[in-house]
Symmetry: C2
Subunit: 594 residues, 2 copies
């Protein structure tokens, strides 16, 4: 199944919906304009199509291999990674000084969407490097930056994030790995870590591990965790590689999906490391990067959904069964069965909604750093913070949902591994889990993000949605408009309910019982907002005679499909928002049959 | 992960919700009473726990194997099948004359739920035999019945259903396999068939294939298809096996799940066969059995969901992370996090709703045959017909949904194959596809079942739900009651809308565009009805001081959880019911990016 990068849709989402053109005025991205954007998307898309997509199914079959204390990437992956790095794709957003291109985060997300579509297991490798780069840029010493950043930005080396332990997953505060001073300013790391993505491989000569561990006498819990850098090989003064450091993989996991992404169990046995940032501030240093990593996972959800969609669409056009109710054609493509068309339309609508949420979050992140005034930067930071858990959780749910519909459209063939649809279904399933489960995202949303600044960020979104609602009356009459209105009111009701509940410490369990439903409500409605903005922009282009009319009419249709098939969910979300903690507490072990 | 057959819940669903005791009065099941029911459930549950569950994960790993024109069952499966047959589990519902026990279908479904929970790949083998038994009982000649039925009922041989071809899946009318008269009353079958579940194996000495094929000069399309019986080995006059017949497997599929269930590609090369039923009536003969097969797949959905639930519940009680908001305990079981408790509660509520829908459909099927008056039999047949697509589609969606939540509760461990949660997620995914995709079920519901007899069956359900609604006011105040009321109204609105639309031939596409949403609406609301009936029965038992109070209180809680988390969906289903065919038609190839 060939992949075609949806460059036209990516550019539309960035410009007509996410407003990426606002970034030009900041002056922070000197090389960035819409021409460059299109060139990057075209080039990135071609690379994904031609180099990465053909390795996806073979990578799933072969997997990454562990033997004798070392991991070998799936066949072709090391070479593809070299080409990827040579193309400059690991340095899109890094600073010019570090060898990067200082492009917007939002553009990087769009380029990486094509990588994840073509080969999500591959995409995880540079994705984790980007997180390591961000950690070093924010908290590294000058020496760490000088030695490691250029190699990571050029892609000559990769980075890995080393957090989880068997007893410390969602609760990182429970971790037990130790860092003991060696007396020369370095530390000796000891402990075992699990779920370390691309923690070892043979695609680059060196790997830089960013490791969370405890200093001696550190306070217990989350406030006693520090961040360290450990290089797989010693880096000598001349930049060449010296001795092997004392950490190694002791196995890779046998997983449901992303077989070509090695998920390593790592053992640190006196590994030499240097401190990154301040002692005991490791978790807060990591939190700075967490928004970016979570947003990147949201884009994975979009990417895998797009691939599953393309595959299903191609099959629906080719596979013939039964008579078309529309054309009367016998043995018609199943594309002409209304229920198949419904699935494809809902898939595409959800993909475009999730994509625009992620890209909008990216634009907000860029403006949070680079908008002209401090007030603007603060407002964009609020938007970024509010949208990040939605981008992560809602988009990855869309990834699983769309991949499942992709299997369904294939009928019995969807269950056969050779068809390929099943791989997306398997690969997608990790995305609601890692980088904080979607339940953790929902707790983050209602626990922290929603109430920042008195709920200002959520209120701003509601106000902007109302502006779009007014404009929407020019495009549609009746239900498509009413449904958005009802949906916005539901968000308002739920937001006020939650802000109220949060003000009462005795209702903490009510807030947590509402978390999942509130995140899904906000995601459903903000997704609809994104499609509504797209429909409005498409209408403007149609009236101006710009662009392919059938494609632009499609944007208007996608909003309508979404309004009928998704926006209606809001009332159910409201019901679950208000279910209360007592009801769930009542569901005891005995009630649940344990 | 050990499996525990939920015997108490199964019996509660059969009696307190599905009304299985009505079957005693029919006289058609002389041995059946509640004591026997409990004995069958206990014995079946123990067999599933002790023999079948331990083979589930090894069967997934080893799979069924094809080599040199023959299939070998996964290790241990052949022996387990012998024990299963020896226990009488293949003859629960067959007639006494054929060696069966003439027990109700509803009880068989409950016993088989435990089989599918413990080992769905195994369960498919007897499930397909039951379909062959039913086909022979309904349409076989006396000779076919004499020769084959006792061996199938005793489980000495198995049966296989041989329908699908590469070009004929959802549209069986397109099939091309041929049957040529041999001149001696037998026929020679030729053609290739795919997706033949347990089409070949080494667990029994003979396999009876029920094959759809075309006679010479048969009309084209669905009206030219006949049903044949082909035995893997010739059955000699003394009942012993003779020559091998000319059909054989040419491969097994490599699938996403149910690895231990061989999905065969079968080649018929002049295979000797006899006609079953009337020439060119093969499809209508098959349709008679289709309700039963579809209902059986619904029960697979319930079974796999129950297993996924038990696994997740056990993990949630054992895995410790973070502090409990309810007890203040540090490093508490994740069971004590409201969002985990929400998932478990919703899982159990959906399972019990789906289980009761399936068992109620089984009781309706039994009463459709055996109720005292013709009017009653007709009314129960209407209920069976209406509920069958819901039992199949809604319950299998629940299977996938619950299996996915089971993975999620495990966090990162859920994605690791050794944990086991991923297998249920993979296995469950076939159930919305086979025996008619869930889209086909929805078309069957709105196209045939809903409008039978002027919509009488749906109207009867609505009337009965209103009776329950009135009673529900004694248990709950406010929202739990309001939500059921709103839900019933939504079903009424949607039903009238659809009956109207169906009366207008020009709106055929509107009906098809509504199909999926209508099926889901009816499933959501009927599921709520089932839980409401369970809550009412639990309350009665509580007041009478019968049974475990915490467990019975749980039934009241499950309805409330379901009302908050599922019943609210009905408004979104209504929106999608009315979306109309024109909207979907507008989503052209160009609009969808093809």
């Amino acid at each position: 199944m060939p992949y075609r990068a949806p460059v036209r849709d990516l550019a539309f989402s960035l410009t007509a919906v996410a407003g990426v053109e606002q970034l030009e005025a900041t002056g922070a991205f000197p090389d960035f304009d819409l021409d460059l954007m299109n060139a990057v998307l075209e080039a990135g898309g071609s690379f994904s199509e031609e180099v990465l997509a053909p390795l996806n199914r073979p990578g799933d079959l072969a997997g990454a291999k562990y033997a004798n204390g070392a991991v070998t990437a799936a066949p072709g992956f090391a070479d593809a990674y070299q080409q990827f790095a040579a193309g400059g794709w690991t340095g899109l957003t890094a600073s010019i000084e570090a060898g990067g291109q200082a492009l917007p985060k939002a553009l990087e997300l769009a380029a990486y969407e094509t990588v994840h579509s073509a080969n999500m297991a591959f995409g995880l490798c540079p994705m984790l490097s980007l997180a390591a780069i961000e950690a070093l840029e924010a908290h590294g010493t000058e020496e760490q930056k000088t030695v490691y950043l250029p190699k990571l930005v050029s892609g000559e080396w990769t980075g890995a994030m080393v957090l989880t332990e068997p007893g410390a997953g969602s609760d990182l505060g429970a971790l037990t790995a130790t860092a003991t001073p060696n007396g020369d300013g370095t530390y000796a790391l000891n402990g075992q870590k699990i779920f370390i993505t691309w923690g070892d491989h043979d695609a680059t000569p060196n790997i830089v591990h960013m490791v969370l561990a405890r200093l001696p006498d550190a306070p217990p819990g989350p406030k006693g965790i520090s961040l360290f850098l450990a290089s797989k090989f010693e880096v000598k003064a001349d930049g060449s590689l010296g001795d092997r450091n004392d950490f190694r993989p002791v196995g890779v996991e046998h997983k449901l999906g992303i077989h070509a992404s090695p998920t390593c169990v790592m053992s640190y046995e006196g590994a030499r490391a240097t401190l990154v940032g301040q002692p005991n501030q490791g978790l807060s240093h990591m939190f700075v990067m967490m928004n970016a990593a979570r947003l990147a996972v949201g884009v994975e959800g979009v990417g895998i959904a797009e691939m599953a969609y393309q595959h299903a669409l191609a099959y629906a056009l080719e596979r013939r069964q039964g008579r078309s109710i529309w054309t009367g054609e016998a043995n018609a493509p199943i594309f002409d069965h209304p229920d198949v068309r419904r699935m494809l339309s809902v898939m595409k609508a959800k993909i475009e909604a999730a994509r625009a949420i992620c890209f909008s979050t990216g634009v907000a992140a860029d403006l949070a750093k680079h908008a002209a005034s401090e007030d603007d930067r603060k407002a964009w930071k609020g938007r970024e913070d509010l949208f990040t858990p939605i981008a992560k959780a809602w988009s990855t749910d869309v990834g699983c949902d769309v991949a499942s519909m992709g299997v369904q459209i294939h009928g019995g063939m969807g269950f056969i591994e050779e068809t390929g649809a099943a791989q997306y279904y398997r690969d997608a399933r990790i995305t609601p889990i890692y980088e904080g489960t979607n339940g953790i995202q929902a707790m983050d949303l209602v626990g922290r993000k929603l109430s920042m600044d008195g709920g200002e960020a959520a209120k701003a979104v509601i106000a902007e949605m109302k502006v779009t609602l007014t404009a929407l009356g020019k495009l549609y009459a009746g239900k498509p408009v009413e449904r958005f209105k009802t949906a916005i009111e539901a968000v308002e009701d739920a937001t006020l309910w939650l802000l109220d509940a949060k003000a009462d410490a005795a209702r903490a369990a009510d807030v947590l019982a509402a978390a999942d439903a509130y995140l899904k409500l906000l995601g459903d409605v903000v997704g609809g907002w994104m499609l509504a903005k797209g429909a409005l922009a498409a209408k403007t282009k149609l009236e101006a005679g710009e662009g392919d009319p059938a494609w632009l009419e499609g944007k208007l249709g996608l909003y309508e499909v979404y309004a009928a098939n998704v926006l209606g969910h809001v009332s159910s979300r409201l019901a679950a928002v208000g279910q209360g903690g007592d009801l769930l507490k009542k569901m005891s072990r005995e009630a649940l049959g344990a």
